[in-house]
Amino acid sequence: MSDATSRHPGINLSHARREDERHAEVTVFGFWVYLMSDAIIFALLFATYAAMVGRTAGGPSGPELFDIANAFVETMVLLTSSFTFGLAAVSLKEGRVGASQLWLGVTFILGLAFLGLELREFAGLAAQNATPQTSGFLSSFFVLLSTHGLHVLAGCIWIVVMMVQIVIFGLSRQVRSRLMRLSLFWHFLDLIWIVIFTIVYLPAVAS
């Protein structure tokens, strides 16, 4: 396959050698498989949440607690971060190191902002005596959201590591391949968040 024909949107991995191409393909495929496994964890947490929604044990319920406006801002921040990651990927594709660093930095900050908003929401709930210890419903709510939040945190750390690696190694084959996986991870988190928004927050407004 010639280089010109293999170009596609997103990060392209250029391969000096056949083995490298094969290696990149295998690695990315492996990462997809990992994401599927991770998706099962979220699926089980969603199912648990769905089973626990009514089990408030006399404590507050979702519609009484949730602030859809905040969740909407969180959604916007996260969606924007996916977009800026896309911009980072495009700069990377064109070999503009500075620009890709910049966009990765913006993505990182948006990631942190998301986490900040989430923590603020948690603190607000705690102030209303709605903690994970209050009821099965709140346990499942907090765990579902924090599992996603921890993933975002991991993604943020990963971004920092990659920014350092770009400085040290430049846009080497390894670095590109890792950035490609990181971008899959980041978009995956976005997707999970959209499901959270739909299953957790929207019904609270609808009722």
């Binding site: 083995e19 690695t27 496994s37 991770d38 089980l44 626990m52 210890q133 190694f169």
Partner: protein
């Protein structure tokens, strides 16, 4: 319970001086560990061990380490079984020699060890050794990840072993059902050990699953289509897909239980809106496929062994492949049969009962395929074949008792009796363990270059099979007589005789295990007579035999080209089994790395610290895990080149051996 900052809940009371039995168990573990360390030091083998084994990324060596781990844990799990059998044989209107609490710890550790730390490592050991070779591949897809998986499994096993010396183990059975395992009912650290051991090893297992699925999809030899793969690779593929989709269930169930216990949440508690049925569903969405994760690869082993020792082709290859896939898919649709009695709607129960029985169909198809493979074959009764034959007969009996349990009204009568215990041992011992033993005997010469002693192998076989029947058939009767599982003592005189017979059976199994230890010793001693470097002792059809025994680090100097099923037999029939080229290419292989063992070590520290609430140490452990991963990502010089001359030298040595062997047989 009060706890200090430095040591958390850890105090002197954690040492097992409360009972003689517990103290002696701990002493055996500690002395055993110390004597291994002393032996290695005395042999001055630390350097070699470190370079050749502990830091290796070679899938073959990792496979061997998995099998060693599994055999050690088999001993431990079996001692537990013996202790239970001894207790129940004497505990008629008598307290016996175990306290109820200790008895509970023992059946919990027995089940946990046998499923997670004996069965799984044994399987992953054989898969590690064999699958890349059968695919004609040079390695697994992610060699370092493979080492990490192994060390995480080992860390989990180490936590179980440590619980014997420091603190206690769970009393919640291998399934860890809440609310019994909630803090309010089980305030000791036992359940925490169980959770941490399973979570850590579970991560390792998931990573292995990913590794093997990618290996099988992407690393097959040039020309090898999926339908050219040996059946063992198929079963490995399906089992690892099950791992990827099922083990997250274990992670979630265990993780949520930990949150209940540590942070006072209410997933499964009796109060605060918790619901035990959440646990039952999540756990068994994992738990039932887990049974097939254990059994499917064993089916693959039987499908390798039976044709080889019948000197025929496998009958119905395609059917077997589809049957395997059906079983894998169906295994996710039956989990509810584990709680028929918990008050679900009758229609729901009926659905899951029917689904359960449907699984018997592809399994039955497989049994017929194996029988037809043997039909009119020239059977050779070497030990791998003996294990396979015992499997077929015994497994069919177990399957029939399973159909009984799949009928909800009958399950209402039998669930939680020894009938169930008899049934699942009847499936797992022949269906998994005999398969593992068959694979062990079959591939042993591949891995070591010499054969296992037949005489002691037969003795082990007869003791195991006789022991199995005596140990478990009485349990069916006891089930009919209404004896519950997990009873530390009882007051029904009619039961005792059966329990004595069962104990006698367990002692026969012990003789089997001793025979296996003797077999290994004798085989190593007499290895000069049975060496076979040329590497095809059974005249087998698949690619793992198309290289030397043991194979070189890079498996194949030139990747074989495959155009049919049973590639090696096809090549032999075509008269050119070994394509020795004129020139050899240099080969790039991964370097050794201490990342695997380091991650295992810090995970162990993390797990131990969390069990004992030593939070500063847990933080250090977590930092260690994250730090190790990040540090490794900065490593650049991770591969090494084996020069063409070195490859040529290795291959020439092998070629000479092959020509000599052929000359001798011609």
């Amino acid at each position: 319970m009060n706890s200090s900052f430095i040591l958390g809940k850890l105090t002197f009371d954690a040492l097992p001086f409360y009972s003689v039995i517990a103290a002696s168990g701990a002493a055996v573990i500690v002395l055993g560990g110390l004597s291994v360390v002393a032996l290695i030091t005395w042999l001055e083998a630390w350097g070699t061990l470190w370079r050749n084994w502990l830091t290796t990324t070679d899938h073959k060596k990792i496979g061997i380490m998995y099998v060693v781990l599994a055999l050690v844990m088999l001993l431990r799990g079996f001692v537990d079984a013996l202790m239970m059998r001894a207790q129940q044989a004497i505990a008629m209107n008598d307290p016996g020699y175990l306290t109820p609490d200790h008895f509970q710890q023992i059946f919990s550790s027995h089940g946990t060890i046998m499923v997670f730390f004996m069965g799984m490592p044994f399987l992953f050991g054989l898969m590690n050794y064999v699958v890349p070779l059968q695919l004609g591949a040079r390695d697994v897809a992610f060699p370092l990840l493979n080492a990490i998986s192994f060390w995480l499994t080992a860390a989990g096993a180490a936590l179980v072993m440590v619980s014997l010396v420091i603190g206690v183990f769970s009393t919640g059975g291998w399934t860890g059902y809440p609310p019994y395992t909630e803090l309010s009912y089980s305030p000791t650290v036992g359940v925490d050990y169980w959770i941490m051991a399973l979570l850590i090893s579970g991560v390792g297992t998931t990573l292995s699953g990913i590794n093997f699925v990618v290996t099988i999809y992407k690393l097959r030899a040039p020309g090898m289509k999926l339908m050219h793969m040996p059946l063992f690779c198929w079963t490995a593929l399906c089992a690892n897909l099950l791992v990827i989709f099922a083990v997250p269930g274990l992670t979630v169930a265990g993780g949520l239980l930990a949150l209940d216990r540590y942070l006072g949440m209410h997933f499964f508690t009796n109060d605060g809106g918790g619901n035990v049925m959440n646990y039952a569903n999540i756990f068994w969405i994992f738990g039932h496929p887990e049974v097939y994760i254990l059994i499917l690869p064993a089916f693959g082993i039987f499908s390798s062994v039976i044709p080889t020792f019948s000197q025929k082709r496998l009958f119905g290859y395609t059917v077997l492949v589809y049957a395997t896939m059906c079983i894998a898919v169906l295994s996710f649709t039956v989990w509810l049969h584990h709680f028929f009695t918990m008050g679900a709607d009758a229609n729901v129960n009926a659905f899951f009962g029917v689904m359960t029985m449907i699984i018997a169909v592809p399994t039955g198809v497989k049994v017929y395929d194996w029988i037809l493979t043997m039909f009119r074959g020239r059977l050779l009764f070497d030990t791998p074949m003996l294990w396979s034959l015992a499997f077929i007969v015994t497994f069919v009996i177990g399957g029939m008792t399973g159909v009984i349990l799949a009928i909800p009204p009958l399950d209402y009568v039998f669930h939680n009796t020894l009938f169930l215990v008899a049934h699942f041992h009847n499936m797992l011992i022949p269906g998994m363990l005999f398969g593992l033993f068959a694979g062990y005997a079959y591939w042993f010469p591949k891995a070591t270059g010499f054969r296992l002693d037949e005489k002691w192998g037969r003795r082990a076989f007869f003791f195991w099979v006789a022991g199995f029947y005596l140990a478990f058939m009485p349990l069916y009767v006891l089930g009919f007589l209404g004896m519950s599982r997990r009873m530390a003592y009882y007051d029904q005189p009619g039961w005792q005789i059966y329990l004595i017979v069962a104990a006698f059976g367990a002692f026969l199994v012990l003789c089997g295990i001793i025979s296996q230890i003797v077999q290994l010793t004798v085989s190593i001693r007499d290895r000069a007579c049975t060496t076979d470097f040329a590497g095809d002792p059974w005249n087998a059809p698949t690619l793992e035999w198309a290289t030397s025994s043991p194979p070189p680090e890079y498996n194949f100097a030139v990747q074989p080209e495959v155009h049919s099923l049973d590639a090696f037999r096809a090549a032999k029939e075509a008269g050119c089994p070994y394509p020795w080229p004129e020139r050899y290419e240099p080969i790039e292989m991964p370097r050794n790395s201490m990342t695997g063992i380091a991650l295992g070590a810090v995970s162990f520290v993390l797990g131990f610290a969390v069990v004992w609430h030593i939070w500063w140490l847990a933080a250090l452990g977590l930092l260690g895990v994250v730090g190790t991963v990040i540090a490794r990502s900065f490593a650049t010089d991770t591969t090494r080149i084996i020069s063409a001359e070195d490859v040529a030298a290795t291959e020439t040595r092998w070629k000479t051996a092959v020509l000599a062997a052929r000359g001798a047989s011609a």
